[in-house]
Amino acid sequence: MKAFIVTTIDAYLIYLVLTAGSGNFLYFWSPAEMIMGVFLAIIVGAVSRNYLCRSRNYRMLNPVRWFKFLVYGFGPFFEAMAKANVDVAYRVITGKIRPGIVKINPELKTDFGLTFLANSITLTPGTLSVDVDEKRNYLFVHWINVKKGEEKKEFADYRYVCGTFPIWARRIAE
């Protein structure tokens, strides 16, 4: 039941964002759109409640986590993404690469945290997540410029691969 309510409210919020500017009820919406949105959101919630809240764990409802997510998105993540693009530009122009697939152990426990970290890794400098060991939560990362010495170790040091991201993933998603 809780999954159904959460999914319905999410769907309704997205509907409201997409239909803003349709009238002047509460400045932005027309009443017909708002009522239609309720029905559509209930249908969507009934159909897809088992997909959005699969793990039956509602820790992401905590607003503190959303705030941390925003801080992360506009702070370290955006900075790393800008750096990543300058880095890709440098490698496109000069062609200097030393690629390899390394294994890291981010010490995360939940699926959501791992997904979050893998997406962050893909969009940040010189790294691309390739595969995941689902039993022990190891990530296999394609690294475009492997640091000298890291290829001999069993686990590459994640401070070189993805900086402080595992710490942020732990703060936000676990």
Partner: protein
């Protein structure tokens, strides 16, 4: 208005990085390095060209107050969010599929994943 210059800067950054992505796609030697160029550069570039549209929409909203501009801005923000969510997952899926279908990373100094498979 001064946001005109902001729009030009955003469009310039976006076009540059999209172009670098396309050129990197042609220049790099194997599928994984191509994915680096394609995913990072085109996601970043498309976000910037879309941010130019958002800036344009909110400038027009401020100037003439038509609700259509609010719709344009908000819908573009939703489009940016969907790009940010879907692009890295797609890249991850392609990389995994490439490795499982037997494409080896070229010139690689280390391949831990192939060692695990043996």
């Amino acid at each position: 208005m001064w946001t005109q210059y902001l729009i030009w800067i955003f469009l310039g950054i976006g076009l540059t990085f999209n172009g670098l992505g396309a050129i990197g796609l042609l220049r790099f030697p194997d599928v994984y390095t191509r994915l680096h160029a394609a995913t990072k550069a085109t996601t970043f570039g498309s976000i910037f060209t879309s941010l130019a549209v958002v800036t344009f929409a909110f400038t027009q909203l401020y100037l003439n107050g038509k609700m259509a501009n609010l719709q344009l801005g908000l819908h573009t923000i939703v489009a940016i969010a969907s790009l940010l969510l879907t692009n890295p997952v797609g890249a991850h899926a392609i990389a995994r599929a490439a490795h499982r279908s037997g494409v080896k990373p070229e010139k690689a100094v280390v391949d831990k994943l192939a060692e695990v498979k043996k």
